[in-house]
Symmetry: C2
Subunit: 407 residues, 2 copies
């Protein structure tokens, strides 16, 4: 067998794959963002479309030293099968971070390390969502959550989100009008909008959700990337049953796929069963590298650098947009995170603008991608973390040219 030359394996199967697919396949849409990424592969295109951290800020050399060191000192453990719950010192670090930042008492047993926070979304959906259950989320909402939840065939209910925070009347009406299984929120510098829940709204949301017996999920991938102002208390401060999601992707590096879920032990036990079935455990070498980097004390300087660079980029983009946007268009000035949200004047069409912008070699994500139930036609998401200031200026000029163009 070994010496045969490659041949097509025979006989050729003519399976009717679509007919064999499970029902849930039809409920997950391929992301328009994947289409956009094809446009942005052209290096001449200035892309505000992605959601990428800036790779020149990765602590590459520190991680290179640590990676080799982990293998030389603990290689057998770092390469062997490991526990589904995750590397305990990393779970302890996450718990201590919640205590240090917010005064939250979190036991390491309340932390599950996940393969990126995207996996946290999948596992939560596995544990909580039956087909037909109502899942509420912000409108516009985070696309990764929409995709993860869609696999489990829920009915979505949108809660309008604006610069003033979530629409509390609409939230209460949603929670009382039907049984809502789960509310998914991103209270800090939300993706896609960059909007942040004010302090009062946090308490109000937590109380309304607790009263409704709805599972509250608080996703916070960007919270540490605050460029001005003070941290606001997490929803969890107001409702101890809140399930928190976190990620090392924006804080250190996304390629390692490290995130976590923080939840009551009873929920963690169910998530662990689902994670064991999903991938046994998360890369333990990556977990040990991350823990050594964090424990080594390099994080404060690293985060300060991210905040300084990203904060300047955000300010540059806001100022350029405000110079170039036509009358009637608006954009927010986010306090942190990676994105801002532009709304075109009445009659604007960001999908049509996307086509013209492509000709001008600038890209963004049209708002409609972030609505499960229609909407966002005038809106667009712009990322400011992965483009330097000169190219942000140039990109906004190109965007203005596209806006001024025909159509």
């Amino acid at each position: 067998v070994k010496t045969e030359t490659p041949v097509p394996s025979a006989p050729v199967a003519t399976a009717d794959w679509p007919a064999l697919s499970a029902r849930r396949v039809a409920s997950v849409k391929t992301s328009f963002i994947r289409e956009i990424l094809k446009v942005t592969e052209n290096p001449e295109v200035i892309s505000f479309a992605g959601g990428l951290p800036s790779p020149e800020l990765f602590p590459t050399e520190a991680l290179a030293v640590i990676a080799a060191d982990v293998l030389r000192t603990d290689g057998r453990q770092a390469l062997q099968y490991s526990t589904t719950e995750g590397y305990r010192p990393l779970r302890e670090w996450v718990g201590a971070r919640y205590a240090g930042r917010f005064g939250l008492a979190v036991d390491p047993d309340e932390i599950l390390i996940t393969t990126g926070s995207q996996q946290g979304l999948d596992l939560l959906a596995k544990v909580f969502i039956n087909p037909g259950d109502t899942v509420a989320l912000e409108r516009p909402g985070y696309l990764g959550a929409i995709q993860a939840f869609s696999v489990y065939e829920p009915v979505f209910a949108g809660v309008p989100l604006s610069e003033a925070g979530p629409d509390l009347d609409a939230l209460r009406a949603t929670l009382t009008g039907r049984r809502v299984k789960l509310l998914y929120t991103v209270p800090n510098f939300q993706n896609p909008s960059g909007f942040t829940y004010p302090a009062a709204a946090r308490r109000a949301v937590a109380e309304a959700v607790a009263a409704a017996g709805t599972v509250l999920v608080e996703d916070d991938p960007y919270g540490e990337l605050r460029y001005r102002g003070e941290d606001l208390p997490p929803l969890r401060r107001h409702h101890a049953g809140t399930i928190m999601l976190g990620s090392f992707s924006k804080l250190v590096a996304p390629g390692l796929r490290l995130g976590w879920v923080c939840a009551p032990c009873e929920v963690i036990r169910q998530l662990v069963v689902m994670k064991q079935a999903a991938d046994l455990h998360t890369d333990i070498f990556a977990q040990r590298i991350m823990h050594r980097f964090l424990a080594g004390g390099g994080l404060p300087a690293h985060v300060a650098r991210l905040r300084a660079v990203y904060g300047r980029r955000a300010a540059t983009m806001v100022a350029a947009l405000r110079r170039h946007l036509p009358a009637g268009a608006t954009c927010n000035d986010p306090d942190g995170g990676m994105f801002l949200w532009v709304t075109l004047p009445a009659g604007g069409d960001s999908r049509a603008l996307f086509e013209r912008a492509t000709q001008q070699k600038v890209a963004f994500v049209p708002g409609t991608a972030f609505y499960v139930d229609g909407g966002g036609e005038r809106a667009m998401r712009l990322n400011f973390t992965n483009t330097d200031e000169a190219r942000i200026e140039e990109g906004v000029r190109r965007l203005a040219a596209a806006l001024a163009g025909p159509g």
Copy 2:
């Protein structure tokens, strides 16, 4: 907020978590193996229970050099978000390996890199299994597959597997008696049994499954770990629609969580959508390390070493068992892999034996864990890869003492 001391977050939630759980939670059993692992944490216990490769054989130093090198030369790409499909050079390596070993023509676009082959099982279940669909698998069967599939609430049908291969009459009866959506197989050195499908059975299984319009999944984590004899052709040689699963866990190291699915492009596209929703992509740093290790040419010597060491351990365990097992007990002599299968004489009870063996400080997995529909009471799985020869001898002596004991 930052200066507060940790306090329990208030008010305390009293959520009725079990009532909030999705139906699928009840269909996934926590593994008895997790209970066993608690016993084996005691270093005095000789454990034949796990399924671990031997950590002293990990190519630790080679990977340490490569890991630092990857970050120093390609750090920005190795730490950034990456494609869901996986690192293309690694997918090309997998395709070329199929060509070199079996003469199979596999395009890199037919390969999806997964977070361990366990994730391959989860993604295949997502794409193919509706609640109530019939999934056929070997009896005894691989526990990781049973767990992964159970999440999607199928009905299981067992196809008896013995040293002579799968029971072809039973397989044909199963495939014709009802609509079977998917057949899951481990033709080489199966987990838990160590049994291997003979060449003729491979063709017969592939043809029966192709005729039934059933999805054929061929999992091959151990195929490269052959200690004697020649490689047998994969089922895929006889049925081009066969979906193959592979893993770097036994070939190099499991901690990195790297596996793959090889399937027709149409299936890969659906798996990619599901993987994007599940974890976006697999750790790209780990993928690049693995690719450099494989491309660097170190694999043949590494695999030769694994085969030599594991082959001696297998032979040692078989010889010791044959000396010590009571009349009427049997054990196979596997040609490769990590496990062998002991059947106690009539009336034997491997669960009861497990308790006595624990007192003798030796552990294994009772056979009942591997049956979805009852059975395996007299059987037990023994791992031979993660115990040196002296401790294998001693462990089998302890097992014999437990067998000779009361009960």
